[in-house]
């Protein structure tokens, strides 16, 4: 099967090269049949890569340890669910996933646009196949998912326990879908620049591609944050890690594009800017993929194997130089048709928003890459980290939120005092009320940035509510429908706008949650014995009793914490620290059960207004005396029975060994149980943070808003509305 898989990858490479050739030839010779053939090559690529991926999945399900990636990331004790997700936890497997998702999304998009954009699509196909060729060659020659070892081991290393979390099933495919979807508007932009077709149909389709990429990438980022918060033992959701930043940068660029493209649609301005944003987003997406895999920057995510770094740098170089060259080549076609009239208009607000977003991207890029920049300039790697991000990102985020509120309610072209009065009164008043309440109730005067975010966030929420209200009542005045029906009709008729409003609402809620949970969290690091307690932010955490469980897959030590506030009971938290057995036999027969990977299970009570979060780090060191004794005892025992064992028939050998293992397991369980019977003080990290749930809730609203904006208008409705307008305008024509 390894040969079959590797051959499929080579076949895929051949298909990509053919696709590039056929598409470019078809475009230049204006031969429709070659263009179609090139497009079908993309479909074929999707089929072949999906088949290859299925083969990998089969290998995992069958515990085929001849395959290196199965040995590295799976084991016989791994559950079926995680065997399905383990393929993309390795470098080689994830490369294959990347190619597969790229070919899948490309096939879908090229199929949907097969009758449109006919001068652009062939070049776009060639670019997409170029990316596929790049990643497929890496999979074929540098990190082969079908690489085998002989003789095949009998057991694998197992999946890193940190990855055994449902979110981990969706986070990489979502992120990769986001990255590969970014390649599509990039490819179509290249195609548009080459063919010179930069008109309305290119804009309309690119906007949808960009929105889809934005949605998937954003979901991937939020899932990563959620996983970090609920699974890792540090209690945070965003660490400004290099890889987190790498996904955030293209996301912010596309956010800018989604807004500035509206100016191009309406006023024919910012053409160079928009096409540059698309090209930059695609480049940043590839750059992000490069950062994760090259090990070039320190990150908890880094894949390592710096042999992959050089090809990526070459690809990025080609992309950047190619983009700049093409934009310069097409400058005449990208001339602006209009200029901004007034700095107090919606166009200006959109432009400021774009500038703020680009500034944010620049800051993130600079600080993330600073270790490399400083090493190149001064010879020493200088690392900055989170303290450098916040002084810049937070003020920029505040400006962004303010603009998100102002933008929808300010008028196009120019603003008047009457317009200001009519539209800004309610939102400004609401924000003022929130500000007063916050200052009065929350003792928040020491945290001006958080207060600013809450005030501005409320401003945005108020504008969105005002827009929905006014739009619905205007529609009601016309159609005499009930409120819910009118609301539904309003949203259906103006999906982009109202989906966008929901996104603004969701982002505001999310950022309010971020501001609250970062500025007002209380965390406490404490060592407790059973019976002792500690108080964090008014909540009393009492360590009730230790817990222990010794299973085949892991040994977990934990604690039960009873939480009370004042005199009322709040909740009970269970937190454990699990130890997985190590495959390294040098750590001892018994010792290896306590020496492998460890993970924490967080004790979490997530509420609407506050989260109670606790982890414990139980160190097995007090058991080391017993463990060492056990190691010696069992090693000696095995040495003693070895000579007799080899003389026994096979079946009896297994019986003796089974008894030995059972005896050993009992010993391990017995030693572990000492945590209950002869317990020792353990360290707890307890965090009480407000409004964390608002982050996830806000993100969900953002996703819903994005889906509404992206939802295609049913063909029938489009024809109907077009007919209505045609009739009205026809009267004027006549």
């Amino acid at each position: 099967m390894a040969l079959l898989g590797h051959t499929l990858l080579l076949l895929a490479l051949a298909i990509t090269l053919y696709g590039i050739g056929a598409s470019v030839y078809g475009a230049r010779a204006r031969r429709r049949d070659w263009v179609d053939s090139g497009r079908r090559a993309v479909y074929a690529l999707a089929g072949v890569t999906m088949t290859a991926f299925v083969l990998v999945e089969i290998a995992f399900q069958r515990n085929d340890f001849a395959f290196n990636i199965v040995t590295q990331t799976s084991s016989t004790t791994l559950s079926t669910f995680y065997k399905l997700t383990a393929p993309w936890s390795s470098q080689a497997g994830s490369l294959l996933l990347w190619v597969m998702l790229l070919s899948f999304w490309s096939s879908l998009v090229l199929f949907l646009t097969r009758r449109r954009l006919r001068e652009i699509a062939p070049y776009a196909t060639a670019v997409l196949m170029g990316f596929a060729a790049f990643f497929d060659s890496l999979a074929c020659f540098a990190a082969n998912p079908f690489a085998t070892s002989s003789p095949a081991p009998t057991q694998g290393a197992g999946l890193d326990p940190l990855l055994q979390h449902p979110t981990m099933m969706f986070h990489p495919p979502m992120l990769y879908s986001g990255y590969t979807l970014m390649a599509i508007p990039f490819a179509f932009a290249i195609g548009a620049l080459i063919s010179g077709r930069l008109g309305s149909d290119w804009i309309r389709d690119t906007r949808r591609f960009a929105l889809a990429a934005w949605l998937f990438l954003g979901t991937g980022i939020v899932l990563g944050a959620l996983w970090s918060y609920t699974e890792l033992g540090w209690g945070g959701y965003w660490g400004w890690d290099a890889v987190e930043n790498a996904a955030l940068m293209p996301f912010l660029c596309i956010t800018a594009f989604i807004h500035s493209i509206q100016i191009q649609e309406k006023r024919g301005m910012l053409k160079v800017w928009n096409v540059s944003l698309i090209l930059l987003s695609g480049t940043l997406a590839i750059f992000g993929t490069f950062l994760v895999r090259s090990g070039v920057l320190d990150s908890i995510h880094a894949f390592g194997a710096s042999t992959l770094g050089v090809p990526f740098v070459c690809l990025l170089g080609v992309m950047i130089l190619g983009s700049i060259g093409l934009v310069l080549y097409r400058r005449p076609a990208l001339r602006a048709e209009n200029r901004i009239d007034s700095l107090v208009s919606r166009e200006a607000v959109f432009l400021f928003q774009n500038l703020v977003l680009v500034a944010m991207v620049f800051v993130i890029f600079w600080v993330t890459m600073f270790p490399l920049i400083s090493e190149a300039v001064t010879g020493t790697k200088v690392s900055v980290g989170p303290p450098a991000f916040t002084p810049f990102v937070v003020p920029l985020a505040l400006v962004l939120v303010a603009l998100a509120g102002i933008g929808p309610i300010i008028s196009w072209r120019r603003v008047t005092a009457a317009n200001l009065r009519r539209n800004f009164t309610f939102p400004v008043a609401s924000a003022a009320v929130v500000l007063i309440l916050v200052l009065a109730l929350a003792h928040a005067s020491s945290k001006p940035l958080a207060i600013a975010m809450w005030t501005l966030g409320s401003f945005v929420i108020a504008t969105v509510l005002q827009e929905f209200y006014r739009g619905t009542s205007a529609r009601r005045a016309m159609t005499k429908d009930a409120w819910p029906v009118a609301l539904g009709g309003l949203v259906r008729r103006n999906r982009r706008r109202h989906g966008g409003y929901l996104v603004h609402l969701g982002i505001s809620v999310l950022l309010i949650g971020v501001a609250a949970s970062s500025s007002f969290q209380h965390s406490h690091d404490v060592v407790l014995k059973p019976g002792q307690s500690t108080t964090v932010d008014g909540y009393r955490f009492a360590y009730v009793r230790p817990t222990e469980a010794a299973l085949a897959a892991k040994i977990s030590f934990g604690a039960v914490l009873r939480v009370t506030k004042g005199r009322s009971y709040v909740t009970t938290l269970h937190t454990t620290r699990g130890y997985y057995p190590s495959t390294d036999n040098s750590t001892g027969v018994i010792g290896r059960f306590f020496a492998g990977a460890a993970d924490s299970t967080v004790g979490l009570d997530a509420g609407l207004t506050r989260n109670l979060w606790a982890v414990t780090s139980v160190n097995p060191t007090p058991l080391s005396g017993y463990i060492n004794q056990g190691d010696k005892y069992f090693a000696d025992y095995l040495t003693a029975i070895m000579p007799k064992l080899s003389k026994l028939p096979h079946a009896e050998q297994n019986l003796v060994l089974d008894r030995y293992y059972a005896y050993r397991d009992e010993a391990v369980a017995g030693i572990a149980r000492r945590f209950l019977t002869h317990t020792w003080p353990v360290e707890f990290l307890i965090i009480v943070a407000p409004l964390v749930t608002w982050i996830w809730g806000g993100a969900l609203v953002v996703v819903i808003g994005g889906l509404i904006a992206l939802w295609p208008v049913p063909v029938l409705a489009r024809w109907r509305s077009a007919a209505v307008y045609r009739a009205r305008l026809a009267r004027e024509l006549a």
């Binding site: 031969r31 429709r32 049949d33 053939s37 074929a44 309305s200 300010i410 196009w412 077009a722 307008y725």
Partner: protein, 100 residues
């Protein structure tokens, strides 16, 4: 066994990819397999521009209804947009040879 599967996959791939090439020579260039002529790029471009213009007209209407455009501003914007839409429709008509 592996070789059989590889050959099978290869055959399917080649079949799928070369289908347009095997058909293509007897159809007129610029038409798809059904023999129906595809809309020209100019037509698609104009239709996209027309849809965008209709959306703008609707947006302006909504802006006016929710108070972001004053009555005079709305009249001005609306008539400009309608004039631009009419121009697009005229060009569409001339392309499709249809009478209004």
């Amino acid at each position: 066994m592996t070789y059989v599967i590889v050959l099978l996959v290869l055959f399917i791939v080649v079949f799928v990819i070369t289908a347009p090439l095997r058909r293509g020579t007897d159809d007129a260039p610029g038409s798809d397999s059904g023999g129906v002529p595809d809309p020209s790029p100019e037509l698609l471009e104009l239709e996209a521009a027309r849809d965008a213009k209709y959306r703008e007209i609707r947006d302006a209407e909504l802006d006016h209804q929710t108070g972001k455009l004053s009555d005079e501003d709305y009249q001005a914007v609306d008539s400009t947009l309608r004039a631009e839409a009419i121009e697009i429709l005229r060009r569409l008509d001339s392309l499709t040879g249809r009478r209004s």
